[in-house]
Point group: C2
Chain length 360, copies 2
């Protein structure tokens, strides 16, 4: 397989945090060539220490308010949902986002895993959401499509999202944490797979990469934390919205490799309080997303997302006024996105058609 690009000038690493970023020391060999966007949550008067030698920009709540003005209301406070502010201000094509309690994991052989390199491989190779390949990623080294895989589908579709996994502390909800306090994930599954079209999945924001140009505006992490009735559903919300839109626009979502080492479990008693309402609400939210059909006229992520916001207000609003507010925030998010990411000027006639240019 051909060597893939390293995306040094095309990818930002987004890190939400409330503490010194000492965890970056372990990632230095892998992250140092990249630009970091640090979103400081909580008290803006705190100083976040960043190890020397990293190239970064840091935003605290005062910066969010200054940059977005009244639209800052769509960015959550005291919840890792604030990370999506980093997606908004990035100017790069690709995003990798990681939590500050995630460390470098090891393969069973003992080799340290370059998580970012695997995410880049996942994003730069196609996805296969229209038919299942039993030998997993057909674009991995030493793998291919199996007998019976339709040839017309082997070109695959562009990959929008790469969802990585976690060794040690699994991403469990508060209930499972409380019931199985000692469970650790020790199973290294050497696979990347495309989540089939039409299938929802629980997207975790801990170790996640995506193509900002393809799916960025759908990567809104919702209203969580301070002043909201719910927390810890930020990444889930983004995942459900993004997956429905990827399915509609024929974009791929992969999950599996790379693993990171998740060092410590969050407090399950605190988590239960945050998740409490979500446990009930998701029983209605999931059927809602499973039954959504976006109009054919929605041909961009922006269109799809606005349509989704309207449906959220209409169909989830009756469950709780929170969903009215969330639907409004989704619209505000798109307005903020458009403000900070104005569409590029229309192509002039002197620009060659890309299909022609590619023949060189």
């Amino acid at each position: 397989m051909a060597q893939l690009r390293d995306l040094k000038d095309e990818l930002d690493i987004v890190i939400p945090t409330i503490r010194n970023l000492d965890f970056l020391e372990m990632w230095r060999p892998f992250f140092q060539p990249y630009h970091l966007i640090i979103v400081q949550d909580g008290d803006p008067s705190n100083t976040i220490g960043v190890p020397e030698g990293f190239d970064y920009e840091l935003y605290n709540r005062n910066d969010v308010n200054r940059i977005l003005g009244p639209k800052a209301s769509c960015i959550s406070f005291k919840d890792s949902a604030c990370r999506c502010f980093g997606f908004l201000v990035s100017k790069k094509k690709y995003i990798f986002t990681i939590d500050d309690d995630c460390f470098v994991a090891k393969e069973p052989s003992g080799k340290e895993i370059n998580a970012l390199e695997q995410h880049i491989r996942n994003l730069l190779t196609p996805s296969t959401p229209l038919f299942f390949n039993t030998l997993y990623d057909p674009f991995a080294n030493g793998s291919d499509f199996v007998r019976g895989y339709p040839f017309s589908l082997r070109e695959g579709l562009p990959t929008a999202i790469s969802h990585g996994l976690w060794l040690n502390i699994p991403d469990y909800d508060a209930l499972t944490q409380l019931v199985k306090p000692r469970e650790r994930n020790t199973r290294y599954v050497d696979a990347v797979m495309t989540i089939p079209k039409g299938t929802l999945f629980p997207m975790c924001g801990m170790n996640l990469a995506f193509d900002r140009e393809l799916i960025g505006p759908a990567m809104y992490f919702g209203l969580m934390g301070d002043g909201q009735p719910i927390g810890r559903y930020d990444d889930m919300w983004a995942g459900w919205c993004a997956k429905v839109i990827c399915d509609h626009l024929l974009l791929g979502v992969k999950t599996g490799l790379p693993y990171i080492w998740h060092s410590k479990a969050s407090n399950p008693f605190v988590n239960l309080k945050k998740e409490y309402k979500g446990i009930y609400w998701q029983e209605d939210i999931i059927p809602f997303f499973q039954s959504i059909a976006l109009r054919e006229e929605c041909t961009s992520v922006h269109d799809c997302y606005i349509e989704l916001a309207n449906k959220v207000k209409e169909r989830l609003g009756p469950i709780d006024p929170y969903f009215e507010k969330l639907g409004d925030a989704m619209v505000t998010w798109i307005e903020a996105w458009n403000e900070l990411n104005p569409p590029p000027p229309a192509q002039t006639a002197t620009v060659a058609h890309p299909n022609v240019a590619m023949k060189n």
Copy 2:
């Protein structure tokens, strides 16, 4: 996790073959307690050697003709599709079927893999086709449902099919075999997963187990080989039909572990001839199966399969007269199934309602 039953009296091993079954020697520690059904393909005057100590019944073409009479026309000749005759004559609840060029594989640790034990574990634990679990099988040891997985779906659904994989020679089509003659599968992926509802997959018959009571009548391997315009699509056909019916009846299909060691590639030049028409036809067959909606009135596998046979004739018939013949054979197969597997006598009023009985 609780110790699962070994199903010694509830499972038959079905092996289609044209040669002496020396490969059973390697499987002796795992297979010897089970009953084998050997389906001899090709010249019935040949003698198939079976290593001593195995409990088996063997059927050759003369037996097939004698037992099924005119209905024998639905059983393929000179193609591994003949294996489904074994499913028909079995009286057990579970079937494991394996090819005679498949040997015991090893885990990366060097431990020999008891493929049958893993299939039984897959069949006796629920499936989760309605939502994707990113940590794979939530019923595996040391695993569970991740955060965001709806609680109402955690009971899972009954598992109908367990599809195992292959180390060494991957199950490639003739084209991929010819293009990549040296490719070997060395990737041991330590996972079992449910194939989501609504997603088709290429089912390989080499290393396959299923619950005969739940899905048996859909496990027809079609008309292949001698006198037919196509071969090597027998298991694919069964997989497409069975998956559509499992989705309709809310049954689960798992793929992944266990691996077997596939010892040798079949001749790709011969395979190309067999697969040639299938390469074109599957481009129509897949959309056909993807778009099928079985009527709500179809509440048994029999009902679903007859409905499917009618749709095959109606919608695939126009592609080639072969599909008319195949649709008829599907009906014949069900007639043969009913003849050899008469429905059990109706339950009497003295039998407690299962939900009540379960409360004891």
